[in-house]
């Protein structure tokens, strides 16, 4: 019931951020055969359905396999009760983009040689093999080759059974040069026909996900051998239902009843467990018993190493990786895995009645939750194998399913657990949950894939991040981990939040028009003769002359080398070979840390070394001096700057301004601080000068005390208002300074300073409001309004006093009375301060605070990037005012007289003889 109540209480927000559910399975490029997928699942019968009925295993034609001895057909077997045609038609896992297959270059956001948005047809530099379209002169992978090499990451069905035009593959006539009916000899490059009738095709493999111990390695072996028909049967080899003897499959009699049905003991049909998903989707280690092991930066567990995410409930300190500071890392790899949340709990089937909820956009306002849903039996008959996905950087895959997944907030009430966070709403709006809850990746990940060069075994030159520098030993290198880069990611609604990513930069050769990536076989021909480098290459690349090319030597670091390879590629007949570089972001959404390990330190972002603008190393060198470009198809805003250091390393740094972000404590506008600082310092200087002059001139003339009388100048309320204002403004200036430059004031807790600033601001507004009311109602407001008639004359008189008269010991030009306390210069200054600057400061401050409450108004005025520097400038002016004001209070008959008057109320003022003019007015 707990899962439903999550949904009942959730109010999905308008903006959904990233989640990397990439159905585009990225397979490992198998040359020598992979090892990783051979790990058989060791989790026990966790989700085995206790009531699944027994059934017969049927072959393609619907006959019981015990009679025919043929391969199991999942579509027929499972199709006896479940609508397998429906399932296969509604499954991106099967389809992989086949439905959207088109001529190369027509894919939105794709490259000019991509044929579909999915794994079948979208080129990936990390795999490098290219699914050739019809009509290409040079064929790399045809369909059959694709199944052999990359089918290990495919559940079957879709392109493994159906041709690009929708016909079954077995119906295709063999045409020469047709990628769908030919395979390529890896050494000679010759095409030979492929007999689909003989090999069979691969049906969607139910056993792979729905049995507890599928023999994935056996399945992969059959795929690689070209025995597509038997791949699904091979999956059952560990189950006790079938054996393979001398290459032939024999069904075990003891697994079946006399009626030819599977014995109940062997019917182990289950909901997919994490281990099932982990067969393809990266390292899942769903047990606490054995330590998790991962070879660092090797091709094994390739899918994991795009980001380094390991889905395991185990503690890092209990794992088998050589992690730096391992003993201190007592958190689990992934908090959800620790808490027994399964992949399918978030990536559910879209018509699963347990999880189904109407989309926000179509939900009527009066309905929170619609209980009307598919009956369980109906669902089991036709379960959509379209699984919920988020909006990751791998955004071309299953585009129709984007944003179908519930985000963190549908289960977690972030507001109640983040009461300690100032500006909660603003943070949640701009920062994705992952940013703070996946602050650090602890395992290594790929950084760079350089296919402009090849090693002797035709692999690229790769770099990894997160390993200690020096040679990479997959088992013993110290894994230091890395901090993901934070980039803004846009969602389907157009909002953007910053989220963590890994960036993998790859370089490769392309040729021709239309563009195609240079085939691996051609690269091999250009670089190698057999398995050795030809003399020409050795001469150019072997720097230390030791007769072999180390990784550090396999670099196109000057034009001569580039020209050499270009020439060799051209000799193969490739037109205009050139280097292209691209940067692919990979979303990071798993390996979430529990609360204690999330970022809680404000200064992680609100300081000089902010995570938000922390650069990431893309590559330590630039092959052929080609700057890479971000791929067009990710959801990220790539408006930071790419720069190279002197050593030639390439970095990418996100910029806040470009993303319309202003991070308090990190961002500032240089000229504002400069101008403000100058004004402040100038005022200080002026004050010191003026005061010094007064001091010296007063020493030089005889002291003369004018006639004084005691007048009750300032009422209690005025004094209270004034001093409250003083302390609050001083507090605001100080806390504002700490917020503006938190690194200079590391002693203070950023969070507390922000809270104090807000409270003081509220006090200021209340104080100002009450005071305005008082002044209006009592008529005291008159004192502050400069009289326009004669104003300039009087102002000049007053100014002359300050500039000259005061040094001569002159009397003040204007009498100070309780009815007229302010001279014209004071009036105009206070008017400006109290009626212009103060309201502006209050308004800009309120809007900055209100950026989370009234984002529309704030954004209309330019958002934080405008309001914050404005607020800062006015703050500088206030600071300068304080200096000036305090100084000018010393211009009473004695230096401290005015201050005393503001404290005690009684002022001693000089006695004036009334002139005739004044007596009349």
């Amino acid at each position: 019931m707990t899962k439903l109540t999550c949904f009942l209480s959730s109010r999905p927000r308008g903006a959904y951020s990233v989640f990397a559910f990439s159905i585009a399975l990225i397979a490992i490029f198998i040359i020598t055969g992979s090892l990783a997928f051979a790990k058989s699942l060791d989790s026990g019968p966790a989700q085995i359905s206790p009531i699944h009925p027994t059934f017969a295993l049927l072959d393609e034609s619907g006959e019981n396999v015990l009679t025919s001895g043929k391969a199991v057909s999942t579509l027929q077997t499972c199709g006896a009760c479940h609508d397998t045609d429906f399932i296969e038609q509604h499954s991106y896992h099967a389809d992989l983009g086949l439905e959207d297959f088109s001529a190369p270059g027509d894919v939105t956001g794709g490259r000019s040689w991509d044929s579909s948005p999915g794994f079948f047809g979208k080129w990936n530099p990390l795999i490098y093999r290219y699914l050739s379209p019809q009509g290409d002169e040079r064929i790399d992978l045809g369909t059959a080759d694709w199944i052999k090499q990359l089918g290990s990451f495919h559940v079957g069905g879709g392109p493994a059974a159906t041709a690009r035009d929708g016909r079954p593959l077995t119906d295709l006539p063999v045409t020469s040069g047709d990628p769908e009916t030919n395979v390529q000899d890896p050494h000679t490059g010759q095409l030979t026909a492929w007999d689909w009738e003989r090999s069979g095709t691969v049906e969607m493999n139910c056993f792979l996900c729905h049995t507890p111990a599928p023999d994935n390695q056996a399945r992969i072996d059959e795929l690689q051998a070209g025995n597509f028909r038997w791949a699904n049967t091979a999956t059952l080899l560990q189950s006790g239902i079938v054996d393979r003897v001398n290459g032939a499959y024999q069904y075990r009699a003891d697994a079946f009843t006399d009626d030819g049905l599977l014995d109940a003991e062997f019917v182990q049909i289950q909901d997919p467990t994490n281990d099932n998903c982990g067969q393809c989707h990266g390292l899942v280690h769903d047990t606490l018993r054995e330590p998790v092991i991962l070879s660092a930066c090797s091709a094994e567990q390739w899918r994991t190493q795009t980001t380094g995410q390991i889905i395991s409930p185990q503690r890092l300190s209990d794992s088998g990786l050589n992690l730096a500071d391992k003993a201190k890392l007592t958190r689990s790899w992934d908090i959800h895995a620790e808490r027994a949340v399964n992949c399918t709990d978030c990536h559910f089937s879209l018509n699963n009645p347990v999880y189904f909820q109407e989309a926000e956009s179509s939900r009527p306002e009066h309905l929170i939750f619609d209980p009307r849903r598919l009956e369980l039996g109906e669902y089991l008959y036709q379960p959509l194998h379209q699984f919920a996905r988020g909006q990751s950087a791998q955004s071309t895959v299953s585009p129709d399913l984007k944003n179908t997944m519930r985000r963190c907030e549908s289960c977690h009430d972030a507001l109640s657990t983040h009461t300690w966070l100032p500006y909660q709403d603003r943070h949640m709006e701009v920062v994705s949950c992952e940013t703070c809850h996946i602050p650090q990746m602890y395992s290594a990940a790929f950084q760079q894939y350089d296919w402009t060069v090849v090693t002797a075994d035709v692999s690229p030159n790769t770099e990894c991040r997160g390993l200690e520098p020096g040679g990479v030993n997959p088992m013993t290198s110290l894994v230091t981990g890395y901090q993901p880069i934070l980039m803004p990611q846009t969602d389907v609604d157009g909002n953007s939040k910053i989220a963590p990513f890994n960036l993998i930069t790859s370089w490769f050769w392309v040729y021709g028009n239309p563009e195609r990536p240079v085939r691996q076989v051609d690269l091999a021909s250009a670089w190698l003769e057999g398995d050795r480098y030809p003399a020409e290459i050795m001469a150019a690349f072997d720097q230390n002359g030791d007769g072999s090319l180390a990784e550090s030597e396999l670099v196109l670091d000057n034009q001569a080398k580039v020209d050499l390879i270009t020439a060799r590629l051209s000799q193969l007949g490739l037109e205009n070979p050139r280097i292209v570089g691209e940067v692919q972001p990979y979303s990071i959404n798993h390996t979430v840390a529990g609360g204690d390990w999330a970022i809680r330190d404000c200064q992680a972002c609100h300081g000089n070394n902010s995570r938000v603008t922390q650069p990431i190393l893309l590559s330590s060198y630039l092959p052929g001096d080609v700057l890479p470009e971000f791929v067009a198809s990710s959801n990220t805003l790539n408006n930071g700057r790419m720069y190279q250091t002197e050593a030639g390393a390439l970095y990418y740094q996100p910029l806040t301004r470009e993303s319309n972000l202003y991070v308090l404590g990190h961002d500032s506008v240089a000229w504002v601080d400069l101008a403000g600082g100058l004004v402040f310092l100038g005022t200080m200087f002026g004050v010191v000068l003026h005061g010094g002059l007064r001091f010296f001139t007063s020493m030089r003339r005889p002291s003369h005390t004018p006639k004084l009388k005691k007048v009750y100048m300032y009422a209690v309320y005025e004094r209270f208002w004034h001093w409250l204002q003083t302390f609050v403004i001083l507090g605001l200036i100080f806390t504002g300074l700490v917020i503006h430059k938190p690194d200079a004031f590391g002693l203070f807790s950023f969070r507390y300073v922000v809270l104090v600033h807000n409270i003081l601001a509220a006090l200021l507004v209340i104080n100002a409001g009450l005071s305005l009311f008082y002044h209006l109602v009592s008529g005291e407001i008159q004192q502050f309004l400069p009289r326009p008639l004669g104003f300039f004359d009087q102002a000049i008189v007053q100014a002359r006093f300050y500039l000259r008269g005061i040094f001569k010991g002159d009397k003040h030009p204007f009498e100070k009375t309780p009815d007229k306390k302010l001279n014209p210069l004071q009036q105009v200054t206070y008017f400006a301060i109290l009626n212009i600057l103060l309201p502006l400061q209050i308004i800009t401050g309120a809007l900055m605070w209100g950026a989370q409450r009234w984002p529309n108004i704030t954004n209309w005025l330019g958002g934080l990037p405008f309001l914050a520097p404005f607020h800062t400038l006015v703050a500088w002016l206030f600071a300068a005012f304080v200096v000036m004001h305090v100084y000018l209070t010393t211009t009473g008959h004695s230096p401290l007289a005015s201050i005393q008057a503001m404290m005690l109320g009684w002022d001693e003022v000089e006695v004036y003889e009334l002139t005739e003019e004044e007596a009349v007015s």
């Binding site: 047990t287 609360g595 009750y712």
Partner: protein, 484 residues
């Protein structure tokens, strides 16, 4: 107006003003800043501070020929000490009368007169067994429990490390009693452990969570004793020698117990879900994930094979004792528990074809006071009377005992006499089991059990056996809405 004038002319009125102004800033700030809501758990505040050590070197002159002489010397300055100790079970080896559920009369039971499935019982074996009595001279049933000078002060208070007790609880030949007496101080793990770590006849045999590795433990072995050098008495605090704590093997009542919550607050986990477990799961269940972490403990003791001349191995077979199974790093068994329910008493009829429980646990899933605890369950085969169908306690040590004659009949006859039980002459061996709760060898918090240690297909709890319909993560807790 007058008051206003007075205010105006008051000289130090500005101080009021200043204070009021500052308060109008400070008060909102203090009130409005949200406090960090984490509960401050300060267990150190409750740990007793020990009084400083008093050096007894100048206070005791000696010479001391016997332990009792030392005791006499102690009593000169600590006159009540012996009397206080004599009220407690360390001296009496027997509980106060206690009414067990289902029995007609209250029973007094303890090490003095009970049966277990380790060395079985002390009656007729006193000289050997009483080497762990906190007294001198308990050689037979006629030991006088009222003699103060027979109290052994040194076993708990000696800090010289050279004090060893032998038969009857007397110090062995060669112990320097003067040095021992002069070294006395607050008891350390070495004092308590000299007996409690070696129960059952050797190091680590009996308890499963206490053995000699706790003399110098690492933090990962036991966070309190290893990480913070806790002595036993830091938790098992004593008032007038009445030491807190109860032993599941010999205690019946539930008073004066030690609990984690004596020092640690109940809701000290930062995660609310984990705190919620405290209603059904004892702290020990998650925080003592493994029993006998380093040294193997005895898990099975088959007396029936004793007496044969087979190759000997202290961890597998001894002629004196029979065959055993030792295990280290074992996963505890888990049962509902809130205290002892019943205890096997001499004369209780058994069914020799079934496993007899030496002690039973009180509590079940529907009892809100009961929680799931970790246990070492010691199983074995021990002699019983084949005619009367009750367990027998043999005489093992001493002349005429099994270790002397290797004759069960003679040994059981002698033992039956000492225990006042009738012996028919026919004996057999029945299976028994005994529950020992685990509370020591507490792992550091970072090594506590994780969710999947229990809530997974490889979990260590048998939900159905505990009374749940299935994993409470899916079914809900025991008192949740799901009707059963």
């Amino acid at each position: 107006m007058r008051i206003a004038d007075k205010i105006r002319s008051a000289k130090y009125i500005w101080i009021f003003g200043l204070v009021f102004t500052l308060l109008s800033i400070a008060v909102p700030v203090i009130l409005l800043i949200p406090k960090d809501t984490r509960a401050a758990d300060d267990p150190w505040a409750v740990v007793p501070k020990k009084s400083p050590h008093t050096n007894h070197t100048d206070l005791l002159a000696g010479p001391f020929e016997t332990g009792s002489e030392v005791t006499r010397a102690c009593l000169e300055c600590h006159p009540d000490a012996a009397q206080d100790l004599m009220q407690t079970v360390h001296w009496t080896w027997e509980s106060k009368p206690y009414q067990l559920e289902g029995r007609d009369e209250p029973v007094t039971i303890g090490k003095k007169n009970s049966l277990n499935n380790f060395c079985l019982g002390i009656q007729s074996n006193w000289p050997s067994c009483t080497s762990c009595h906190a007294g001198y001279g308990w050689f037979d049933a006629d030991f006088d429990f009222s003699v103060q000078e027979n109290v052994d002060c040194l076993v708990c208070h000696d800090l010289s490390g050279g004090y060893v007790k032998g038969r009857g609880g007397l110090p062995v030949e060669g112990v320097d009693l003067l040095a021992s007496a002069q070294s006395v101080g607050s008891p350390t793990r070495e004092n308590c452990g000299s007996c409690h770590f070696n129960g059952g006849g050797g190091n680590a045999v009996k308890h499963g969570d206490m053995d000699q590795t706790l003399y110098f433990p690492s933090a990962s072995l036991d966070i309190h004793m290893g990480g913070h050098d806790f002595q036993c008495i830091d938790c098992h605090q004593a008032q007038d020698h009445d030491i807190r704590g109860r032993a599941i093997s010999v205690s019946l009542d539930r008073e004066n117990q030690v609990a984690c919550s004596d020092c640690h607050s109940e809701n000290l986990h930062s995660d609310a879900r984990i705190n919620a477990h405290a209603n059904a799961v004892a702290c020990q269940t998650c925080h003592v994930p493994t029993g006998a972490v380093i040294e193997p403990t005895k898990m099975y003791w088959d007396w029936s094979t004793a007496g044969q001349d087979l190759p000997e191995d202290p961890h597998a077979y001894l002629k004196l004792k029979g065959s055993f199974v030792y295990e280290s790093g074992f996963t505890p068994e888990y049962y509902w528990y809130k205290g002892a329910k019943d205890r096997y008493l001499f004369g209780d009829i058994i069914d020799p074809t079934q496993v007899t429980q030496i002690n039973t646990l009180d509590g079940d899933i529907s009892d809100p006071e009961a929680k799931i605890w970790p246990f070492k369950v010691h199983r074995g085969k021990q002699p019983y009377d084949a005619v009367y169908n009750y367990l027998l306690q043999p005489m093992t040590a001493g002349e005429g005992g099994f270790w002397d004659t290797f004759d069960w009949d003679i040994a059981l006859r002698a033992g039956a006499e000492a225990t006042n039980m009738a012996y028919s002459g026919e004996y057999g061996f029945a299976e028994t089991e005994m529950y020992w709760s685990l509370s020591h060898m507490i792992a550091p918090a970072d090594n506590a059990l994780q969710c999947k240690s229990c809530h997974s297909s490889e979990g260590r709890l048998d939900w159905v056996a505990l009374g749940y319909p299935g994993d409470p993560m899916q079914w809900g807790g025991r008192f949740s809405n799901t009707p059963r």
